[in-house]
């Protein structure tokens, strides 16, 4: 009873007071309740891929949005997780509960491997260096076709679950859990250090922060998250096959960049918004106007970047909420005084 009362009080005082948190609550509740409305395999598959790509986009946001280590070869992490998991499943017939953690571990190792040589690189030099890694892994895959399946890829991969609904809940659960953990990380002292490294690495080092260690941590965490997404993708009903042309492609590397910029970088919820808007939209456009789908998609992204340069979710949040100039607590835009300190709120909405 105590916990119920605590939960109700928490909802009243911390969640229902801010529209952005209400939106998140409704969004998560809708996702959890969705199979009660329909179990259409197409819609569930689209939502499964969307949830997986959200996790993938969040991993890019953690590394590039928060820490400023711009990666243009993020498919390396997604692909290494997918390949490790698929190969273990295909060659050794291991079950997904063994192969998915193994895939995530391999991607974490890949994150550290990429992070080490890239420590001395900055900005576009770093971006270009990261771009090379998925190309190298593609070369490796093509060099050993007997083991890796070559261009055709790996198949005969065990399925995660026997039903689509179970798969949906499993992937949604993992994605939500991982996002909550990453949220706690970026809201902690570590997140502040990531911000500091992005803004001015030299200043951060002057303050005694071991930036090398934190940059490697960002690479490893990002690799772990993207690798988990890739490993789950390999076993999902949406993939069926893990091929270099799919999981290691340039398009796969650029997608999290587009999703994150569209939704709002360095926010965690931004990339999730980006994926949940853009992926189903692209999927629908493929049915409605397949010929013009990329044109419409590109126009939409351009318009959002032109009129909402901080990303769509940040733009919406700033339109419906204000930050108290005195205590920095967020308030609903209709309030005249801060809910925490009572200070008058300004008309404009600073970030």
């Amino acid at each position: 009873m105590y916990y119920v009362r605590y939960l109700v009080r928490y909802l009243q005082n911390e969640v229902l007071v801010l529209p952005s948190r209400v939106i998140v609550l409704v969004f998560v509740a809708s996702l959890l309740a969705f199979p009660l409305l329909t179990q259409d395999p197409n819609i569930l598959r689209t939502l499964i891929v969307t949830a997986l790509f959200s996790l993938y986009a969040v991993s890019w946001d953690l590394l590039s949005g928060y820490t400023g280590q711009v990666s243009l070869g993020h498919a390396l992490f997604f692909g290494s997780g997918a390949y490790a998991s698929a190969l273990l499943s295909s060659h050794l017939s291991l079950p997904p509960y063994a192969t998915v953690p193994a895939g995530a571990a391999v991607a974490t190792a890949a994150g550290l491997l990429v992070g080490l040589p890239c420590l001395r690189l900055r900005k576009h030099y770093l971006a270009l260096a990261t771009l090379a890694f998925p190309i190298m892994l593609t070369g490796f895959v093509l060099a050993f076709p007997g083991f890796s399946g070559g261009e055709g890829g790996v198949w005969r991969i065990a399925r995660l679950t026997s039903t689509r609904v179970a798969e949906y809940y499993l992937i949604l659960g993992v994605a939500l859990g991982a996002v909550v953990v990453l949220w706690r990380v970026v809201e902690s002292r570590v997140g502040l250090i990531f911000h500091a490294i992005r803004e001015d690495e030299t200043a951060a080092r002057a303050l005694g922060i071991n930036t090398v260690r934190y940059k490697l941590l960002a690479f490893a965490l990002s690799g772990l998250t993207a690798g988990a997404a890739g490993a789950l993708y390999a076993h999902s009903s949406a993939a069926r096959i893990v091929a270099p042309g799919v999981v290691l492609s340039l398009f796969m590397s650029f997608q999290p960049v587009i999703w994150t910029i569209f939704g709002g970088a360095a926010t965690i919820y931004g990339p999730i918004t980006g994926v949940f808007v853009l992926y189903p939209l692209l999927d629908t456009l493929n049915v409605v106007i397949p010929k013009y789908r990329m044109l419409v998609f590109a126009l939409l992204v351009l318009l959002i970047l032109r009129f909402m340069p901080q990303g769509i979710s940040t733009w919406i949040r700033d339109a419906i909420e204000r930050v108290c100039p005195s205590c920095r607590v967020r308030n609903i835009a209709t309030r005249r005084a801060c809910r925490a300190c009572g200070a008058p709120l300004q008309a404009q909405s600073p970030r």
Binding site: N42, E151, G152, G153, A239, R240, I241, N286, V287
Partner: protein, 436 residues
């Protein structure tokens, strides 16, 4: 009033049920915004219109018409679109059968979905052995729904290309007096090309007496499938003294080869596999430099592989303004499917599979009989493909022409498809090597 509305609703429902019950829905799968997918759709459209105009298909006393459903697999763009498209076609559009497909990695995934839903998928456009080998033979109950209608599997495509290379080498021996022609291999970096390169490397140097090609391999070059220039490779081939270049291209590098080879007047005759050279727009794509390029192909102007080849090509060309690509084999796929349904006199999947396994059908590309892998039988009595060369601005067939498949055991067996013309050594190649 209420009862009138109820009656009307019931009538509409009953009519709707009857109509939907008399339609066979066929999903045509392909990258619809690309020429390959366009030809998938156009081939199927021609067949469906013909079958419907002839009164449809009568099964168990009921007459069905064919309704095509466009399934854009977006196979050229990597990602989960292909799986989405096929599953949507099966669950939302309620297709009864599937035909088409193009890229191997997409096809492997799409056929898995088809097998999950127990839907027959007639592959028309993907050649990789793996689509059937190791699947139908190893796990028949799961993969029995898959059949390949066109093209022949990649091993057989390579075999046809070897035979054509042998004929071009013979031409060099007889017309230019070169007893031991020098061969260069130019193959894109792709998995499917590797076994062809390995096998050919062994065959070229082997003497004629032991069944080899009796030539000399001067080198192998493996550019990227997306290379934008082959000047360095072609110059090296020229310096190596090659007289013939054996190409193995499926990607856009095939166009780059045609352009650079013709523009630089490299003194080597081309033969082999070059998918781009099968397209109507080949000469335009190569800036007019692609004349005399040759490739293993399926359709060419005027060649009559079977009695239905020329009427199909003429009809396709007059309707859509270009020669059909091999993906237009969806035309044959629909006829083969309807033939099996008629023989089974049922739309039940297992009955249609049994009927398909017993197929013996003369299509536009040859006689189609499926082997135990549900793959095309290849050879003189079945499907062989043709050799196509660009002569006077037109793709014409140069093979099979006076082809002796087994001169030792069957010396009298000579195969010539009506309408084939001799292979022509490019004039600049002939001038270069004449008298040397």
């Amino acid at each position: 009033m209420k009862s009138l509305i109820s009656c009307l609703a019931l009538a509409v429902f009953a009519f709707g049920s009857a109509v939907s019950g008399q339609v066979i829905r066929i999903g045509v799968v392909g990258p619809m915004t690309f020429i390959q997918g366009k030809h998938h759709w156009q081939g199927a459209t021609l067949a469906a219109e013909e079958i419907n105009a002839a009164g449809g298909v009568t099964v168990g006393g009921r007459t069905y018409t064919i309704e095509l459903v466009r399934v854009d697999s977006n196979e050229m763009q990597p990602g989960p679109d292909a799986v989405s498209a096929v599953e949507r076609a099966i669950t939302a559009s309620k297709v009864d059968f599937l035909v088409g497909g193009f890229r191997t990695e997409a096809m492997l995934a799409m056929t898995e979905v088809a097998c999950d839903y127990k839907k027959i998928f007639l592959i028309a456009g993907a050649a990789d052995n793996k689509l059937l080998q190791g699947r139908v033979d190893k796990n028949y109950n799961r993969y029995k729904y898959l059949f390949r209608v066109t093209p022949a599997r990649s091993t057989y495509l390579a075999q046809a290309a070897f035979i054509q290379l042998r004929e071009v080498m013979d031409l060099f021996r007889h017309e230019l007096g070169i007893a031991e022609p020098k061969i260069a291999i130019l193959a894109e970096q792709a998995e499917w090309a590797t076994p062809i390169v390995t096998f050919l490397s062994l065959q070229i140097n082997a003497p004629l007496a032991v069944g080899g090609l009796g030539g000399r391999l001067v080198g192998t070059w493996r550019p990227s499938a997306l290379a934008t220039s082959l000047t360095a490779e072609l110059t090296a081939i020229e310096r190596a003294g090659a007289q013939i270049v054996f190409t193995v291209f499926s990607g856009p590098v095939g166009v780059v080869f045609g352009r650079d080879w013709g523009r630089l007047q490299i003194p080597v005759a081309a033969v082999g596999i070059n998918v781009e050279a099968q397209a109507q727009g080949w000469l335009d794509a190569t800036g007019g430099f692609g004349a005399y390029a040759a490739t293993v192909g399926i359709y060419a102007s005027g060649v009559e592989v079977t009695p239905t080849t020329v009427p199909f090509i003429e009809q396709f060309t007059s309707r859509f303004g270009e020669l059909p690509l091999f993906t237009a084999g969806t035309y044959d796929a629909l006829y083969i499917l309807m033939d099996a349904i008629l023989r089974a006199d049922s739309l039940q999947t297992d009955a249609v599979i049994k009927a398909l396994e017993a197929t013996d059908y003369v299509s536009t590309i040859g006689r189609i009989v499926f082997d135990e892998l549900h793959d095309l039988m290849w050879g003189p009595d079945y499907v062989t493909g043709i050799g196509v060369q660009w002569q006077d601005g037109t793709p014409v067939a140069f093979w099979p022409r006076e082809w002796r498949p087994d001169p030792q055991k069957l010396p009298d067996l000579v195969i010539s498809a009506p309408g084939t013309v001799p292979y022509v050594i490019p004039p600049w190649v002939r001038d270069h090597w004449k008298g040397k």
